[in-house]
Symmetry: C2
Subunit: 264 residues, 2 copies
């Protein structure tokens, strides 16, 4: 048993999909969530900058005395996870491995597609992770940089969004993929449109997968929190929390807690 | 005469349109440009954060011993200009006033439209500035948050861009505007599409207007640099300069100089 909290960080609010899955699956755990809203998005920035920001985020969460860090941001997981593990002693989990493993389990024809930010796709992290679980899998990727701004604007079912999504997914048809990994925490909100465009493809949502990984790790090491401990989770952002407090409810539903602004 | 340089900052690379206009109009001036690429964009962030970043950018440029600061970013001009002027002794010019004055000079029917980021439009800064020059002008505004990501992706003439632009401009038709202010340094790259959608409207590009303002101020105060001084301009970014060095050429053309990375 370990009553310390779980630290989660993301470049912004997309990682709240991860926080919510963990809170649902592990209701006794206390969550400390940090959204780096003042410096988001990470997806268009370079490795060096993403590593610097990720280290600062991790250092902040460590001050909350957590037992584990979850990197909810795909871009940070893709570009900074190794450096974080080198620098910090604590267990640090990224979203990429969980999504990759789930895709390998789901695929039948071993042909897997991945969409993500420009930085995530350019890193090759999903291809490496999927190949680690199944060296014979064929992986096809597509950078989809306009999807994050579209989701942040709430353009979830507009005809322009559908057209842009069709543009990004067009290459997967001829490759006959049967599984598509949503390599960014914003994309699950576009699942209805994606299912409309590719109805036969299994869609992997990494938020749920990472929650399963966290639970498995905590249980294997007997590090879960005491039942009914009921300590309140806390949320932090680096920009003023107005936007968090507006859209957070939509992501978190009954788990909604108002965020506090912090300086890193 | 004053051989000190001119400091220019922007949230990213859009302000290079301003730098280029100034370099063309005032070829003897030495420019120090700072693009805060690690923390861009500013347009979706809050006043408090935009003020903090703008003060840090200004403080950096002051160390270059400049005679004037140009805030090339519309969002920072709209939300932080007053605070910068309060905090720093030096002359600080924002892009909003220049664009507003040009719009008032251009309009015949006194009906002016403005597009900008969410933060710029919400600030009301263009409406206030235009009303200052002509209290009887009618000003209509439209926040156009998806245009910056579309321009940054180079989607300058795609059908999706045209459709999204038509969406943002739709409200101006019934208002019978004859002048449209491009309230963001990225938007001039969409001018061909805008002219296609609204062929009869005069489009105000604030980059050119701010260059005229800078020249007028320097000449009025006898603060121009010595002819043929020929000191090299310098460019700085907060993220690694690869993207700057790739797209900077496109913005700056013959004035292109490679950027250095700095920490603020």
């Amino acid at each position: 048993m370990d009553n310390k909290g779980i630290g989660i960080f993301d470049s912004g609010l997309g990682g709240l999909t991860v926080a919510k899955e963990i809170m649902e699956m592990l209701p006794d755990e206390q969550i400390f969530y940090l959204g780096d809203t003042a410096r988001m998005p990470y997806g268009s920035k370079t490795k060096e900058t993403i590593i610097k920001f990720s280290k600062e985020n991790t250092a902040f969460l460590l001050k909350k005395n957590v037992k584990m860090i979850v990197v909810a941001c795909n871009t940070a997981s893709a570009l900074a996870l190794k450096e974080l593990k080198n620098e910090f002693e604590i267990d640090i989990i990224g979203v990429i491995e969980a999504g990759a493993r789930a895709a390998v389990e789901a695929t039948v024809n071993r042909r897997i597609g991945v969409i993500g930010t420009r930085a995530t796709i350019a890193s090759g992290a999903y291809v490496d992770a999927i190949k680690k679980y199944d060296s014979r899998a064929k992986v096809f990727t597509s950078a989809a940089p306009l999807l994050v701004p579209l989701v942040e604007e709430g353009w979830l079912s507009n005809k322009e969004t559908e057209s842009i999504l069709r543009h990004y997914l067009a290459g997967f048809g001829p490759k006959k993929i049967d599984t598509l990994v949503l390599g960014c925490t914003h994309y699950p909100l576009l699942k209805p449109l994606i299912k409309k465009i590719m109805p036969k493809v299994t869609v992997i949502d990494s938020a749920r997968e990472i929650a399963r990984t966290v639970r498995a790790m905590l249980e294997a090491r007997d590090m879960t929190a005491k039942k009914g401990a009921g300590r309140k989770s806390e949320f932090f952002v680096t920009d003023t929390p107005a936007q968090f407090n507006k859209v957070g409810r939509f992501f978190l539903k009954k788990f909604m807690v108002e965020a506090k602004k912090v300086r890193l």
